[in-house]
């Protein structure tokens, strides 16, 4: 994907929002190097700086996806190069487990990506961000906040329905002990 052909928000079209957690010593520095070298790439990544990829709590990733991120990128030092010795290995373990978990939740695993990028690899930052933007553009928006809204509306509708049935059955319900007879199945 060339940097000229990324989807433009000026046209109002959707474009992926990727939250990136970069470790201070390698990946963040590499992103700075990409900047200093003026390596143009897609504008879809928002970088959050941490001291080590080991700091990445799985909750950060799930929170990002829940708040509307279409993808999450984690950047750390290459194995054996972690500034804090082993933090990147711990990140790797958590990432492997989280990947399985989000797959079970129905989220495409390609939306979560872990890359080892060293401080000299500005070129790799450009390539990874471009690739990920392209992949997620292809997958389409994840839109979990919108899904939350939808589910809230469904639940509200369902609650109203149950209340209505209870009210209807309530007048003839003394023997049943107030329990409704049948329930509509919840929407999938």
């Amino acid at each position: 994907m060339t940097n000229e052909t990324k989807p433009s928000s000026t046209s109002g079209a959707w474009t992926p929002r990727i939250v990136a957690f970069f470790c201070n010593w390698c990946t963040y520095t590499a992103a700075d190097l990409a900047g200093v070298s003026r390596m143009k790439h897609a504008a879809n990544a928002r970088i959050i700086r941490l001291m080590c990829s080991g700091r990445v709590d799985p909750q950060f990733i799930t929170d990002a996806l829940a708040k509307g991120a279409d993808g999450v990128l984690i950047g750390g030092c290459h194995p054996n190069d972690c500034h804090y010795v082993e933090g990147n290995y711990k990140c790797l373990r958590r990432y492997q487990m989280l990947k399985r978990m989000i797959a079970d939740m129905g989220i495409e695993p390609e939306r979560l990506r872990l890359e080892w990028i060293s401080a000299a690899e500005g070129e790799k930052v450009k390539r990874v961000i471009n690739e990920m933007t392209e992949t997620i553009t292809r997958l389409g928006p994840l839109g979990i906040p919108q899904k939350f809204d939808e589910w809230d509306r469904e639940m509200k509708h369902f609650a109203e329905h149950v209340a209505a049935r209870e009210a209807a059955a309530g007048s003839a319900c003394a023997e049943h002990g107030g329990k409704p007879e049948s329930l509509e199945p919840a929407h999938a």
Partner: protein, 680 residues
């Protein structure tokens, strides 16, 4: 300036500043629109845009606003925090506000410099600004940790770089530990004959410095030693040095070499490492005449007093097979000790300088040049020893077949500028090739052919040197050598044909020569990989130690307190090595003189009330900073050992570990901020 003490429940008042950075940011980001957007965000009291925030007026703007508008948080959207976080923290502190109430937003390196669409760049700037504005209210008033710096210095590597750094620091009154792997200091420079461009003798220039090191009261010279282990951090490194046994008591040996003369081996029989195998030595030997320390050593592999092979614990068994004429010759000095074992010395230093140098390219990896196959093919370092008056042939250029060459080919770029081996230019080979051409011609009056790709002679007086050499009648052929093979007309004498295309005349040349010299390139030292893991340094993709910034911090590394000098950072000549060694020494000296280092207060601590005692965090810390308090059944973090990686924080199931500067609330609010909907 009286410090501003935050009152409890005081409303947050954020001062937000977006920098134009000239046109670097403003050229791509609509800074006024961003400032306007931020002005409407919660808790923002001031929102400004300004041309150069890092300038004095820019910083004064922040300070003035802090005073006049009672600001208690600052957000600066500009370049990378790795560049100017310190600047804005200092400016804020000078105005009386805690410096850790500052948050920087990287909108230059990560935004305006790498994107091409103004609208997208502006929206990204807004999203990042919002994240910071939501994060900064959670910041706490932290205090910087001050750590004292041990004034001792460790220098790893005793070549010209390490020697120069050691002398500079020792002369300034600091205690220096100079650890060198070989039995003597001197490095590669000790093997050279003359140095370009002045053609002064390498040893004449080097040995006074070596002697100074040997006799300097402030330098602990530990040769035949290696660093075994490094712990600690800037200002406080604990280093274990392994001193290998040379079976000679260094303090007692006078360097008289009577043991060598008396050795039962009447003639030297074993390959001499200093002469790259071209000469011979005995089992007991002085590495070279000007060795510092001037102490002999015994090679246990060939000395008859040792059984072959090592014991499982690495020691050697003394066999008593030999008459020990060496001990007899040593007499009252009793400097020989066959039972010597390796010794581990533990030292504390505050700063470390890496000066471990390079290795030359192994020309066997380019087999078409015939190195190791045809006896008259040499690499440049071997020629240095042959030309040298104290070398194996006493300065006479005599080849392996006993003959003197009448025609010599010098092949440039062996193992350099080559996609199949090393892509980089090794910087010194064109110059040393010209030097060798001159010396060979001087010693033998032979015809010399230089085959080069480009003639690269950067540096002071180097172009003049090239002109001088060119005028002496060398044949300079611009064409990379494709093949070296035995002369079909004259193969029995060892004559070789060098085949190359002369790209200036477009002709294929096949030139018969007696001797071929391969100008081998420079490569990272084979120990570089192991060393950098021990010292926690980064390497470039080629294997050279990585400097913090190629222009602005060429001797610093990403590990505070460790500096680089010489070819371990990249190929360079002697003047540049010495200059860099001086720079590294002065960086170390600056730390020592200041006396303390300020550590970023990003350590973690445990909220004891919330800790459930599950012990999940304890095995995670690579610095063993977390221990378990059995009586109270809670985990505790030792702040002095904590490096602030945050790995334990992320693992705690009850969320009871907090990392200063990177608290969970702070990160969550950043995530929320970057994803918040923007105005259409």
């Amino acid at each position: 300036m009286k410090p501003i003490v935050p009152k409890k429940n005081e409303p947050i008042r954020i001062g937000y500043y977006i920098c134009h950075c000239g046109t670097n940011i403003a050229g791509m980001v609509d800074v006024e629109a961003v400032a306007k957007y931020v002005a409407a965000l919660p808790n923002v009291a001031i929102s400004r845009n300004y041309k150069y925030m890092c300038s004095d007026p820019g910083q004064e703007l922040i300070q003035q606003d802090i005073r006049e508008h009672r600001l208690n948080r600052i957000v600066v959207e500009a370049c990378s925090p790795l560049l100017h976080e310190h600047t804005f923290r200092k400016a804020t502190e000078a105005a009386g506000l805690n410096p850790f109430y500052v948050q920087m937003v990287n909108t230059r390196e990560h935004n305006s410099w790498v994107h091409t669409d103004r609208t997208e760049a502006t929206r990204k700037a807004m999203a990042l600004a919002r994240a910071a504005v939501q994060r900064v209210p959670h910041h706490k008033p932290l205090e910087v940790k001050k750590v004292p710096v041990n004034p001792n210095v460790l220098i790893v590597g005793g070549g010209i770089g390490g020697i120069h750094a050691a002398l500079t620091l020792a002369n300034a009154g600091k205690i220096v530990y100079l650890v060198e792997k070989e039995a003597t200091i001197g490095g590669h420079m000790a093997k050279f004959d003359k140095t370009f461009p002045t053609l002064d003798c390498a040893m004449c220039v080097l040995s006074p410095k070596m002697a100074s090191v040997g006799s300097h009261p402030n330098i602990h010279l530990w040769t035949y030693s290696e660093v075994a282990r490094v712990d600690g951090y800037v200002g406080n490194f604990q280093v274990a040095v392994r001193r290998k046994p040379r079976y000679i008591l260094e303090d007692l040996c006078t360097g008289c070499q009577e043991c060598v003369a008396a050795c039962v081996f009447k003639e030297p029989k074993f390959a001499d490492e200093f002469n790259l195998g071209l000469g011979k030595r005995k089992p007991v030997f002085l590495p070279f005449a000007q060795a510092i320390p001037p102490v002999v050593m015994i090679d246990p592999e060939v000395c008859l007093n040792f059984k072959r092979g090592k014991n499982p614990d690495g020691s050697r068994t003394v066999s008593d097979k030999c008459k020990k004429t060496c001990v007899e010759a040593c007499g009252d000095r009793k400097a020989i000790d066959f039972k010597q074992t390796e010794e581990i010395k533990n030292i504390n230093v505050g700063t470390i300088i890496m000066a471990t140098g390079f290795q030359i390219f192994d020309a066997k990896r380019t087999p078409f040049f015939g190195y190791g196959v045809y006896p008259n093919v040499y690499n440049a370092l071997e020629i240095e020893r042959i030309i040298n008056a104290s070398g194996p042939t006493e300065g006479e250029i005599i080849m392996r077949n006993g003959q003197r060459p009448k025609k010599v080919a010098i092949v440039h770029c062996v193992g350099s500028r080559d996609e199949n081996t090393n892509r980089w230019c090794s910087r010194v080979c064109c110059l040393y090739s010209l030097k060798l051409a001159h010396l060979i011609k001087e010693h033998t009056d032979a015809e010399v052919y230089n085959f080069y790709i480009d003639m690269r002679t950067p540096g002071k007086s180097m172009e003049e040197f090239y002109n001088r050499i060119a005028e002496e009648g060398m044949h300079l052929i611009r064409g990379k050598v494709a093949d070296v093979y035995p002369d079909p007309n004259d193969g029995s004498t060892g004559r070789l044909v060098v085949q190359a295309e002369d790209t200036l005349t477009n002709k294929i040349l096949k030139i018969p020569v007696d001797m071929v010299v391969l100008s081998v390139g420079l490569e990272p030292h084979p120990d570089a990989e192991a060393l950098r893991r021990m010292f926690n340094l980064s390497c470039s993709s080629e294997g050279w130690f990585l400097e913090r910034h190629p222009k602005l911090a060429p001797v610093n590394t990403f590990t505070d307190g460790i500096f680089l000098a010489g070819c371990c950072q990249g190929p360079k000549d002697i003047p540049d090595t010495v200059a860099q060694a001086g720079a590294a020494a002065s960086e170390a000296f600056a730390l020592i003189d200041r006396g303390h280092v300020e550590q970023e207060p990003n350590t973690a601590y445990i909220l004891a009330d919330e800790c459930s005692g599950c012990k999940s965090c304890i095995p995670l810390c690579p610095y063993t900073a977390i221990t378990f308090d059995e009586p109270r059944k809670k985990a505790i973090i030792n702040e002095a050992l904590c490096k602030g990686c945050g790995t334990c924080v992320a693992s705690c199931p009850s969320g009871s570990i907090v990392q200063n500067l990177f608290e969970d609330e702070e990160i969550f609010s950043e995530i929320d901020g970057v994803l918040a909907p923007l105005p259409a």
